[in-house]
Structure formats: structure tokens, C-alpha cells
Symmetry: C2
Subunit: 538 residues, 2 copies
Amino acid sequence: MTERIDHTLRGRWTPSTGTLPPHALRWLRQRTGLAEVRTPARAPVVPASALSDAARTALDSVVGPGFVRVDRDSRLGRAGGLSYVDILEQRGEGALAVPDAVVLPASPDQVVDVLRACVEHDVAVVPFGGGTSVVGGVAALRGDKAAVIALDLARLDALVSVDPVSRVAVLQAGVTAPEADRLLAPHGFTLGHVPQSYERATVGGFAATRSAGQASAGYGRFEDLVEGVRLAAPVGEWRLGVAPASAAGPDLKQLVIGSEGAFGVITEVALRVRPRPVVERYEGFVVDGWARGADVVRSLAQRRVLADVTRLSDVDETEVSLALAGGWQTAALRAYLRARRVARPCLLVLGWHGASPAEVRRRRREALRGLDLLPLGRPLGEAWRHGRFAGPRRRDALVEVGVCVETLETATHWSRVHELRGTVRAALRDALGECLVMCHISHAYETGASLYFTVLAPRSVADPIGQWQVAKAAAGEAVAGLGTISHHHAVGRDHAPYLEAEIGGLGLDVLASVKRALDPTGVLNPGKLLPSGLTSPS
Amino acid sequence: MTERIDHTLRGRWTPSTGTLPPHALRWLRQRTGLAEVRTPARAPVVPASALSDAARTALDSVVGPGFVRVDRDSRLGRAGGLSYVDILEQRGEGALAVPDAVVLPASPDQVVDVLRACVEHDVAVVPFGGGTSVVGGVAALRGDKAAVIALDLARLDALVSVDPVSRVAVLQAGVTAPEADRLLAPHGFTLGHVPQSYERATVGGFAATRSAGQASAGYGRFEDLVEGVRLAAPVGEWRLGVAPASAAGPDLKQLVIGSEGAFGVITEVALRVRPRPVVERYEGFVVDGWARGADVVRSLAQRRVLADVTRLSDVDETEVSLALAGGWQTAALRAYLRARRVARPCLLVLGWHGASPAEVRRRRREALRGLDLLPLGRPLGEAWRHGRFAGPRRRDALVEVGVCVETLETATHWSRVHELRGTVRAALRDALGECLVMCHISHAYETGASLYFTVLAPRSVADPIGQWQVAKAAAGEAVAGLGTISHHHAVGRDHAPYLEAEIGGLGLDVLASVKRALDPTGVLNPGKLLPSGLTSPS
């Protein structure tokens, strides 16, 4: 079972301008004044591996020959994730942190042994699942260690058990989301966890980063799915989770979830599963104005009748969506909205999953009761569904043609949603000058919602990475005190400087104390989650 | 606002045999062979206060004169909680741990200053809310400290703020559950948190112990309500919670929730609130046989149509409920069940809260669809509702007449519910000999359920505390590996020996490391949550 996946295929998505039609690019240029600046990609510099022979021999003896890889392609394929800066670095426009080796353990026990070998040989460990981090979570930083490996969990790809009565499945950490659903299908179950990174991301990564998933309103955030975890730490193995709920002290599972490989390597997760839906119905609607749209989503959340997928785009994002549709569709939709005097159209996509058409009809009826929505029908909902994973590829295509394009996200309580959106937009505009900032709500709760921003700006030729870092810092400062630094992208390297503003100095002290208990020499994921000064050994 | 409550009234409930009618007692004697052994209560021994003059002066200067109390009644009123052993000790049948003083701070800042004074003067601190712990959570243990105070939070009784848009209310920790609902009512909101301890327990205590509440299926467990916390620790103040959900690392709120006063003193909680229900409908049903009853509850949970209150009694508990009803009601119900050939009746109480009768009707219809239930009508549901807080008083009445009576609870996944129930019943019977063990499910989840046991046995005259400790240990051993040591009673002193079996040695190490970060000298609640050896200073 462990060798089904061709590991060499698990590199990054090939950027393809094919995913950004010419009309869309034309429209974007008109709208934003973007000039096409094709900067040729250069091959990134890959330094010689710093892994000592002794370390390599020790790792070889744990995982077996062939599963400690030092070739250029293996190392480059695990050098960073999928952020805009990662892509620039992969294009040779910045210093890329490349792991000294890629290690592929075959079992949870081997992961424990790999960690012990790394402690002994002073090697930093970056756990690597799908490599989809957009916050520098898998950057191959070595901290104060002699070398750094990417610990690729691809061979931990088994469905360990299914308890159909309790609806709990145990999966190894390296199982990707589509593979999880494929393994669960014969048992009649699905995870229901569908983030934009679905195609590549792993269940271990979801747990390590508190993933949300586009259907969080229906299936819950990933932390709501986790019934148990198995963690390999330098000090040994830790298993948690014997009941669906407990008052046996603090919920320590919640310390492992979101620990981003800094406390240990998640090797197995026990997950709540749901019956595969028989019916899925996606529909598009339009609300006139962002504030009214947010009120609609708040009403759905507070009446507890959210659709499983609920997302509201602001006027700018709606305009881009219409433009991307292209041709007669764009024209027809614009005419339809004009005829109905919708001045500031905001697209609302609702998606319901159910065991029967009747169930979906009933839930839809309850949700829509009393709401003033202009229905656009199912094709628009289906269009969103079919394009739901295309965002990163579109982003890559824009990077190709010289655009600075990135996403960032936060969440806050309903009473601060508009202030937070306004503050972040203003900060990005101040930092980037001429730019397009789009926003949507994709995760709603009774007490608040997420805000997800997509930014497009003409790319600086002289210092594209510096350009974005200034904008990212401005956004980070804007968020502090008003919302969380991340609703579902996690902390990684990029948000670590802002964590103290959210959890306080005591919060950092507590995280550092937990890290010292589990990873006393600090080999695990240096410079992620905690600012690096706090992760050094006690 | 701080002096509304008469603190001297916040002692224990007066035991009242009036809550146990004579026919019920007769029936219990017949059923269980219990003999009446009236053991006269003796006044418990209260040693002289060990609080030094210097400590008292320091505390006086923080909270003001009159709010450091060393009189016998104040100290006795905070000596332990409401467990069977607590009651025996209060009756003079065991050594009662009495705090050396009761300290009543008036604000979160004063709590921080009290903790600093206690660190300086080597005084242990037991946070005290409603005093309703049944696991020794408020026992006045001093550990290795010179003295111990009960830190009574009664004066932290304010509603700090209400955000009606986000539906978030900030309450000070000492606000009791009824007071919270009273304070929220003018804003149209309720907490919806109704545990059996509702009449006295506080919101700080709910958070500190991961309370569940009888309506957990509808309103969520208390941890689901907590949007933010303010914690006073010996090293300073810690505030958490800026968004409804976050991926900014591990959810540190979950370290505070369930920390049982061992990491700090919760002084404020930001809580999700709901509109006050317009309609409440409670109904009784009967299912024939425990296994079928559990399947019904599982179906409700997995179809996600649980009533807000959902509780299933086993055959023995149902029989006792019928007997307690008494007179013509018992006879009529028995005849009704006989006529319908229900051999092993299990009572199922379902309670719905809603904004309208139509909403409740709709939810009721969806819940009952396809289920084979014998309806008993609303009077039986209402009878449960009216008696929902009577359990502890009934228990006290039984203690008065010489009965060994206590409750314990656990939770597990559905596939292990029957094994766990059988194992715990067998362990209790082995330990106690002739006894009556009743069980119910009161909290159901998609993946599992809680099991709540009530035990009645003839009380040992020679060593009643030892008798129960043997039974409790047997139950604790029976639970280990099959379920959690507590679903909603918490760890306290009584479950601390079993925590390692649930969270592992690494789990204890992690908790101890967090405690050292927040409470380096170990003044906070010694001997609770963590086995005492682990809570000593580093």
C-alpha cells in the first residue's frame, strides 16, 4: 500500500496560462492598469546538500535505501510551498531555502526513529505533506541546526480503520484529500473537507494547520472532525482521543491541531466521517451591496440554516468573476443585473449536500425564507464548483505575466467585519498603490465570519519580494486587534511575527514551554509558528 | 453591582428529606435491600486558620477590609464541593480540608494582585465559584504551601458587555448561570447552558471544568460557547479570543478551558449567546430495550436532528423514575406499558427550544421520522424538566438515611457504548456487592455519547468513605482505555490518578510545562488536575 503514489509527481502544479483566458487578462489590464511584464524564470540555485554522511547513514537505516533522497529534483520539489513569494523564489527571483535531503518514512514508528536520528545528528526537520502552505509553513529553514530535511509523509498513505457505527475513520497523515475520499467511498463515507488545496493537501497537513474547507459550514472545520491524533515527537509518541467529548482537563488534541510541525509530526488522525451525499446542489444568487450581503450570511448563520457551502463575494470580486466567465455569459449576466437595477451586485454561492432531493429542498427552503436574493440559478453555482480549485493555477498564470498577486485572510466577529475589511483594503492600497483588492466571506459562524482577500498589483521589477513583504506587513498590522492573523492559512514563517499581538507574550511563553516538553533540542520546523528566538533549546 | 449577592447564603444546599417522598424510599428499600441507618451528623472539625498575619495584611490591602474572611462559617462554606465524600466529610465522617481564609476580590485586577500576594506569602489558592464540584475540584488542599485560601469569585458578578450583532456577551467569572440568564434577558438573549448545577454554578466554573449542560445537543458544550477568556495567572494576565475561529496556531483558549484553576483564575469569559426561546416543548417517550434506545439516540445524532435536550434512561433508571413519580401515576404508566407489551421500558426525554411553535413542530417531525417510539406525552417531559435540578437534593436526602449514593460519568464512541456501560456496572457491583446501578445517555454526538451512572448501595458504617473510594477506583479502572475519565464532571482531585491513562505521560508533561510557564511556584489549586508530584515548582 505504501508505494502506490509516484512521489516524483508530487511536485508543484505546472503554471498554465491556459487557465487564464485572454479576454480575462485583457479585462484585468483595463481595470487595473497592469502592464504585461514577462520576466523570464531562472533556474533556482540549489546548494550542495549539507547532510553529513553520518546523518545520512542513520536516516538510511531507519527508512531503508532509496528513501533518503538528495537529488536536485527531490529537494527542489519540497523547497517551500505555494505562496506568491514561494513562486517568485522558484522562478529564481529570490533565495530559495532548499532541504538538504528528502526523507520518506513508511510508518509512524519510522517517523519517531527519524526524529531521534535527527536529534542525534543535529538536523532540523520540516514535515511535508502536500506542500500547499501559503505562509512559509514548509520553507526548509534549518534554524541553528547543521542541516535540514523535508520529512515527506507520502508513504503514510493508508486508511488504518473504519468504525461505521461511530462513523470514525483512522487515516495516516500522508493521505491526500482526494485519496481519503476514494478510500472512504467503498464504506459509504466522505470527509467532506474541501479546501482550495484539496487536490494535493493531506489530512495530516489539515490537522497541523487548522484547515477550514470550503464546506466548513456543513461539515465543520477540520478541528471539528478530529476525534484523535497520533503524534511522533522527539521525546516519543503521543496518542490522544478516546471519546467524542471530554472534561478530562484541557483538550490537548487542540494543542496538536494547529501545531504546524513545531511540536511533533502528526502520523495518524481519527476523523469523524459522514455518509457520501446523494445530492449536491449549488446555486448562484445576487445581493445588492456588500453590507446587505453580509447581513444575509449573518442571518443564515444565526438562524443556523447555513448552506454547506456559503460564500459571498464583494462588488470587486463579483465583477472579476463576471469578467472571467467571458463572452456572452458576461454580457447576459450584466444585462440581467441592469434590468433588475442591481447597482452593486455581490455574488452569493450556496451549496447544499444531502441524502435526498427532499432534504436539500427542505434545507434550501428554510435558508431562503425571508431573504431578499436575486436567483441566478444553478449554472452559476456549478460554475463556481467546477472552478473551485482553479484559484492557485490562475494566480500562477498571473505571476507568469508579471502580476503581483496573492491572497490573505482573517476572521472577526460580525460587528467588526466591515471595519476590518476597510482597514485591510486601505492598508494594501497604501502599500501597493494602484491595485485591485477583492474580498469574500467563505466561512460563517453565529458570531462572525472569515474575510478572504485577493490582491492584484503591477509587479515591481526591481524587488518583487520586497514589494509584497511591505504590503503583507501593512495588512498584518491592519489586522492586529481587529481580527485573527489567520482564519485557515495558519502561521508558518510569514505570520510568526504577528502571533504575539494575537495571543500575547504569555501565549508565546506557553507555546514555547510546550515545545520544550516535546522537542527539547528544537529540531522541529524551526522558525515556524513561534518566532525563532523562542524555539531554541531550553 | 459587586455587592448584590449575600455571600453568606452561598453555602451548600440544605439537605431535605422532603425531596424524597416516603413511597419512593419504601420502594428503594424493597428494590435494593437498603436498611435505614440514620447516622447522626457531627460538626466537622475546623482547625485554626494558618494564614500568617503578614499574608492577611497583604490580602486585606488588595481586596479591602471585610473581604478576607477567617470566620468558621465562611471557611466551612468553601470547604469542598458537593460529592458524596464531600457530604460525608461535612457530616463529620472524615477529615475535611478547610481553607484558612476566604478572599473575595472585586475585579480581575484584584485577582491578579491576590495571586501575587499569595506567591509572595507562600499561600495556595483554590478558585471558588458555585462550589458545585463533585470531583474534589474545590477541596482546600494546600500542597506544600504554608496556608490555603478559597478565592471566592462571587463579587465578579457583572455583565461586562453585550454585542447584539455578533451575539457575544462578556461576563465576569463569578456570575451564576441563573444570574447570567437574568442579566441577558433584557437584551433578548440566553446562555442556554443548563447543567444540573445550574442554580449555583458560575460561568467561570463552567469554563474551568468544560461543563456540558443538559441542552448540549442544542446549545453546544460550554467550550463551544467560549469566544474569549481573560485569565489571571501568577505571572500576569492573559487574554485570548479575537475571532469566532482561527488558524493562528493551536487554540490556546482550549488550554484555559478545562484548566480547573491550576493554570490561572478565569476572571471573564466572552460567550456566544442565543435569542431566548419563545417555545420550549418537552416530551417523554418509551423505547423497548436499552440497545434499541441507544440506536434511536445515535440515529438522531447522526441524522443531525437531535432535540436540544436528549436523554435516554436505561431500564433500571426508568424503573426508579416511575417509582419516584408515585401513586396513581406510577400505576397508570405501568399499566400503559404492559398493555403495549413493552418488556424493558427505557424512558427517552426530548426537549425542543425554538423561536416559534412552527419551528419546534418542524424539528420534532424531522427528528421522529422513521423512529419506533411510544409517546408518553408532554407531562412526562415536563416532569423531567421540573425535577431537572433535584438530583443533588435527592442524593443528599438519601445520604441522610444511610445510603451510599453517588454519580459518575464517562463518554465513548458509539461502537463501545455498550461494552463501557457493562464494564462499569460490573466493576461497581463487584466493588459494592448488593447495589443499584442506573445509567443514562444525556449528551449525544455523531460519533458517540456520554454515559451517566447513579449508584445506590447500603452504606458501610465503619468506613463509608473507604467503601466509596474502592468503588470509584474500580469504576476508574473500568473506564480506562474504553472511554474518558470524565465527560463533564472534570478531573479535580478525584480523577487526577486516572488522567495519565487517558492523556499519557507526555500529556502530563505538557500540562506540567504549561503550569510552570503560568504558575512557576505552584500556588494554584495544588493536587487538582495534575497528580501533585507534577505540580511542584520547577
